[in-house]
Amino acid sequence: MTNRMQGLESACKEYEEDLVLHYYGENSEDDRRRIAQHLSACERCRVFVDDLRRVLPQMAKAEEMPQSFWDSYYRETVAKLAEQEERKYWWRSWLTPVRGWMVPAFGTLAGTVLVVGLLFGKGNLGSFVERPSRNIPQEITADSNQLEFFSTMDLLESLDKLEQQDGTQSELQKTHSSRVTLYKGIA
């Protein structure tokens, strides 16, 4: 491009724009006459116009595409737009099967299941619907030892008493068995 432009000779400054318009035939009749008059007298501007004739057609040349290209171009564009639309509203495909008669059918089924569940569950909704798990503090589930500790905590509070009772009972059992032995010995 630069090489092509380098080929252009510079014209008279005040005529440069008019010469381009003259080349394209886009100036008025008066201008055309004025430019023609100038060109007959100015060598530089004649060379400039010749260069325009040589360079501009090369720059404006567009690549010719075969008709088959334009036929498939339209089809491909439509297909790409449809694909883009589908990707944007992907969730619609989930709703498609639920349209029409399926909506009331599904509603009726859900209602029936709920009523049957309530009747057979004797109003105990908790047994019918699984309750969500409670929020368990991290301290409890940190490890199994902690969990064991918290489940045994009330026992630990009365551990002394329980041990005393256990000891007393053991003593009683010992006394009882020794008396039985003594009685058997006497008999």
């Binding site: 503090p137 409890i140 199994s144 009365s158 551990l159």
Partner: protein
Amino acid sequence: MKTRIALALVFGLFLPLLAERAIGADDRWRNLSPREKDRVQRNYQRWKSLPPRDKEHLREEWNRYQRLPKDQQDRLRQRYNDQRRDRRED
């Protein structure tokens, strides 16, 4: 470099052990009955509000309980459950 490798190895061995304990606790929690879960939650709430001295005492009792022979632990637990059931029936 050697220290880093040693640390990585120690943590690499230590972390799975911790994870195993936590997963074990989770499984154990899932297996508890709703009543047991209630009791654990209640005890935990109570534990939070205890003064530090009582907390320490309970920890000591817990350690002592764990050192008891298994049969004695079972006996004490059985006795405790019996007494609680009796209290509830009264």
